[in-house]
């Protein structure tokens, strides 16, 4: 490594940097206010038994200091691991399904055809719906006296009165269906953007070199969409891991703990059990775990990139 020379700046560039610092100030302050300071606070609280009903201010939490007691508890907390497992299950089912459906839809919309704009706009609608409202829609649809059962009855000719949201497995499936309904459009939108982004000249070139539609898709379009696919999958996985609104409105995590995701579990701890220091510990645990995954992911991607360049 050669030592980097400090570049000489013009008056203009110096003025720019100064103005730039002022301009970043609001964002920096907000970050400090909501990220840096609270993180320290969260760490502090997580090292105690403190709770909102203790009658002491949070900064006296040291009085009930227990060091890593809360963190130890995490590992023996079956409910935590259960809800984490369910959350991963949801991610593992929902994201691939959304991906495949989105890819299929994107293929349908890749060329121009009459009416494309209108259909496209309609296809995007589900993801614009306020998630809590979407949750309510599906809550209505999946009632035992709701239209889903009615439609099934009408089709099958016998009376169907499945209690979707009260059966543990069916409740989970219902929640998954609702999430897929809402977020397949996002996959579709991103993947279509990627598909359209494949330069037309390359497709033409492949055609003129004798490639049929299948060759073009498999050898040109798909390989070129790799980055887009990764972006779509990462974004959806991250968002899906946070799943709360739809699920909470539909089932509240029930029946029992059948659909309790990690977010719902934390909410219950916060409001029902009021174990705030434990919540703080869980929060930090998830934070660290996710950050590690992110760091490893970025490292892996950079390594892959370097390898590809060599």
């Amino acid at each position: 490594m050669t030592k980097k020379k400090k570049p000489v700046l013009t008056t203009l560039e110096r003025e720019g940097k100064t103005l730039g610092l002022y301009m970043t100030l609001p964002a920096q302050l907000l970050l400090l206010f909501i990220v840096a300071f609270p993180l320290c606070m969260q760490l502090y609280v997580s090292l105690s038994w403190w709770g909102p009903l203790d009658g002491v201010k949070w900064y006296y939490a040291y009085e009930s200091l227990n060091w890593f007691g809360n963190y130890g508890e995490i590992f023996s907390d079956a409910k935590f691991w259960g809800s984490l497992g369910r959350t991963f299950l949801i991610v593992a089912v929902v994201v691939p399904v959304e991906f495949l459906l989105g890819l299929g839809l994107a293929m349908l919309f890749a060329d121009k055809f009459p009416g494309k704009r209108v259909f496209y706009s309609i296809m995007l609608m589900p993801m614009m719906i306020v998630p809590a409202v979407a949750g309510y829609m599906f809550f209505m649809l999946f009632q035992s006296s709701g239209p889903i059962n009615d439609i099934l009855s009408a089709i099958s000719g016998t009376k169907v009165d499945t209690v979707w949201l009260a059966d543990p497995d069916l409740a989970m499936i219902s929640v998954m269906i609702a999430d897929i309904w809402q977020w397949t459009p996002l996959m579709f939108l991103i993947l279509l953007a990627g598909m359209v982004g494949v330069p037309e000249d390359q497709i033409k070139a492949a055609t003129l070199l004798g490639a049929n539609a299948w060759h073009r898709f498999w050898r040109i379009v798909l390989p070129r969409m790799k980055t887009v696919m990764i972006i779509a999958l990462v974004i959806r996985s991250v968002e899906c891991f946070k799943i709360f609104d739809i699920l909470y409105v539909m089932t509240g995590g029930g029946p029992g703990v059948a659909t309790k995701s990690i977010s719902v579990y934390i909410l219950d701890l916060t409001f029902k059990d009021l174990e705030w220091s434990y919540v703080a510990a869980i929060g930090l645990f998830i934070l660290v775990a996710l950050s590690l995954i992110a760091v490893v992911g970025i490292y892996y991607m950079q390594a892959a990139q370097k390898k590809a360049e060599a």
Partner: protein
């Protein structure tokens, strides 16, 4: 046989007619350039030949066979794109293999042909490189090699040289022409650069606004332009086109250049053509290299002008002359000593003049 016939070919995009009733026969093994400014319909024509674009009307025949129902991937034409359209996610080798792979050619055969092509294009040490590391010049070779490796009988090239630096462009021009002579393919070459078209093609089709303006050998098109568009488009610097009136002064015909004076017509051929003019308003045309600069005393046909600007551009000097509202360019070999502001006579030698109808722009009395 790989001749190409375009019969009443028309392409419309909504209200816009990109190609208008084009009839063109490209004989087997010939090198034909489609030349014109941007938006003249040359690329659309080429896309229709390739099958990427469907004609609105008319038909395309390859060796007498109608191509209407043959999709682009079955037409077996080589196509080189202006931006090369290299598959950037593949290595050079994979690019060269592509056309053979999708045709299901045997592996050993693919290997042999790719190797041959790499030898020919001098790409041997680049075969396993990613295309992002190649220079523009190398990309261009990959683009040509990728098409040539499938050994098509018809080769279409869309401005393949426009992104290259000047020296390599001059080199590739010669190479392309030589390759075509060697492999005897039918080549169609789209360009907006008249120098490329002139130097490469056996024949040039000049297009403007979707209409064919002229079709002929480079020298035909240069020497006998059918209209002012072709006259102006071919050659650099372009032909001087001076609007003027035919007058009948004292029994002799003369060209009246208004505030720049008049010039008698002593050229028999020009006289013949002027007599065919339907109205007096004509455009007089003269190539810059055909004009002589003389002292004013010499009494031959021409107009008195003044030197307004001199461009020394290496092998040639372009002298700008002006008189009244007219100005012309004169090209002289080597460095030409002349003063700014010098008062001279622009002389129009016999047999070198062009005359066009002012209204239609068509050449008058062309044989």
């Amino acid at each position: 046989m790989a001749s190409i016939e375009l019969i009443n070919l028309t392409k419309k995009f909504g209200d816009l007619t990109a190609v208008n009733d084009l009839n063109l026969v490209i004989p087997d093994k010939e090198f034909v350039a489609l030349l014109g400014p941007s938006g003249c319909g040359k690329t659309t024509t080429m896309n229709m030949i390739a099958g990427i674009e469907m004609p609105s009307e008319g038909s395309i025949l390859f060796g007498g066979e109608d191509m209407r129902t043959i999709p682009a991937n079955k037409r077996d034409v080589g196509f080189v794109f202006q931006n090369y359209a290299i598959f950037t996610h593949m290595t050079v080798r994979k690019n060269l293999e592509f056309g053979l792979k999708v045709r299901g050619v045997e592996k050993s055969e693919i290997k042999r042909r790719v190797q041959n092509m790499a030898d020919l294009m001098r790409l041997n040490d680049r075969l396993d490189w990613r295309t992002s590391k190649l220079s523009v010049n190398e990309l261009q070779k990959v683009a040509i090699g990728r098409s040539a490796v499938t050994e098509p009988e018809i080769f279409l090239l869309d401005e393949p040289l426009s992104n290259l630096d000047a020296a390599f462009r001059a080199f590739m021009r010669t190479e392309l022409k030589h390759l075509q002579h060697e492999f005897q393919q039918t080549m169609v070459y789209v360009t907006h650069d008249q120098i490329e078209a002139m130097s490469l093609a056996d024949r040039i089709a000049v297009l403007d606004m979707g209409l064919l303006q002229q079709y002929g050998t480079p020298n035909e098109v240069y020497n006998k332009p059918h209209n002012t568009f072709v006259a102006n488009f071919m050659g650099s610097p372009s032909m001087n086109l001076l609007p003027c009136r035919l007058t009948n002064g004292g029994g002799d015909h003369a060209l009246d250049f208004g505030d720049a004076g008049t010039s008698m017509i002593e050229d028999g051929e020009l006289m013949r053509r002027c007599k065919l003019a339907r109205n007096a308003d004509v455009v007089f045309g003269m190539r810059p290299e055909d004009i002589d600069i003389q002292p004013r005393e010499v009494g031959r046909p021409g107009i008195d002008m003044e030197v307004s600007f001199v461009e020394p551009i290496g092998p040639r000097t372009v002298v700008h002359l002006s008189a009244g509202s007219h100005s012309i360019k004169v090209a002289k070999d080597k460095q030409y000593p002349i003063e700014l502001g010098a008062k001279v006579k622009a002389e129009f030698p016999k047999g070198r003049c062009h005359i066009f109808d002012a209204e239609s722009g068509n050449a008058i009395g062309l044989e």
